[in-house]
Subunit: 207 residues, 3 copies
Amino acid sequence: MSSPALITLDLIGIFVFAISGALVAVRKDFDIFGVLVLAGATGLGGGFLRDVLIDATPPAALADWRYLMVPVAAGLVTFRFHPAVGRMERGVNVFDAFGLALFCVTGALKAAEFGLGPVPAALMGMVTGIGGGVIRDLLTDRVPVVFRGELYATPALTGAAIAVVGHRLDQPELLSALVGAFVCLVWRLLAIRRNWHAPLPRGPASV
Amino acid sequence: MSSPALITLDLIGIFVFAISGALVAVRKDFDIFGVLVLAGATGLGGGFLRDVLIDATPPAALADWRYLMVPVAAGLVTFRFHPAVGRMERGVNVFDAFGLALFCVTGALKAAEFGLGPVPAALMGMVTGIGGGVIRDLLTDRVPVVFRGELYATPALTGAAIAVVGHRLDQPELLSALVGAFVCLVWRLLAIRRNWHAPLPRGPASV
Amino acid sequence: MSSPALITLDLIGIFVFAISGALVAVRKDFDIFGVLVLAGATGLGGGFLRDVLIDATPPAALADWRYLMVPVAAGLVTFRFHPAVGRMERGVNVFDAFGLALFCVTGALKAAEFGLGPVPAALMGMVTGIGGGVIRDLLTDRVPVVFRGELYATPALTGAAIAVVGHRLDQPELLSALVGAFVCLVWRLLAIRRNWHAPLPRGPASV
């Protein structure tokens, strides 16, 4: 994660996740500080979770002021211009898809750099990607979208796995990251547009 | 926790907790990935919480592939055979009791090995035991069962305390663990069967 | 935080936060152990969050028995005398305001001592102050009070910033802490009494 290109991807991921969190906060009638806190928790939560688990503490967000300014900016922009921000895109889910794609690869590559094996590294990439959204949904009393019928965790795990495999094969880091993120993003956006769902349990659930 | 016997107990605990999480997920109509994520969060969450707090990071589950395979297997088995898994036992609560009994002793012994005093070590055992279930209930929007009238935290704390006292008296680790787990398990199962409850506050709560 | 005065402030903060958690638990009909666990999670949760993020693990609460005894005492007192505890004060919110004021300054000063810059240190002070209450509200299925219209995070951030600035200007630690805590407390209590609110988003939120 020392490469400037990866840090840039990470900051963009924080920005779009923070916007998704701020939009949910606005729709729940949170005040300005609620919007900023939810933007921060959504944008930085997945990375905090990863850094605490792989022992990369204190997290970059607490040592580098850019990481703190990004969700603040996203929150203020969303608070002031939320009708336009909402119109500009198909809302929370699309911003969320971009954040997912960027975080799954940067999370996986950071975990690999901290010495985790390929399988745990890919898994930490998935956790980084889905963590912020789960925290956002917990804090706003929604059932996390990741769990129910949405095709969400698989694209993240796949993107993370691609980045890790590229890293093991000594491909350029930025290339692995972009390919993994692209696959995750396209898959997730298609799942939203075409309403793809993951398999549900068969048979009656009332056991 | 270096002893193979304790690692085996830990893995069994992860397995039964993961099944309890997967059963809740199936009943909430989660998809296959929601089932796997909830199995993983329930099975590994208490141990992650403990490892982060006692600074044993990265957690064993991220360094040892067996820890990751166990909840995946439990989730897949439950997803495929959930009516049978549900019938086989009295459901979530019984699996949960086994997980509680195993985790409270392995968690306490690991905390003691990392240098915590006996009281905090027993407390960390309790946290390890109840953490996964609390995370499971938070993620599925249920009020954590541990808090309301269920006799749950006391058996865990007692089992953890027995294991810690055995450790301080230089008893064999596996023996202390099994006695502590046995006391916790029997107490918890009796509480389920006989509907024992912990004391409730006296007087009107509407102060 | 090595100074006895700061440790005393921290312990008082834990005590009043633990009472606020125990009062919520009593009102939700939790049993005695639910009351104790919620008292502990509310009193210690913000500090645990801070210590894990700034890598001050294991948290003081696991190394120093006084930190564990305080929420237990607060929980037992509230469980036994809850009508009087509730009458004595205007309830949860006032205890909560005292805890917020104390934790935002002790949290910020501890983060500064662990080498964080002034902006992240002030932010960690805010996180320490609001963390316990957010955990309390999550565990009892309430929308965290911090997010919705309550003027809550700003006083905490302001108090934390005052403490950090005093620390940077080499003022006596206890003086900086008391001034920051006082500003936070007065502001928060006025916000409760006069029903001050933070700005809400303008325009229709249904974007």
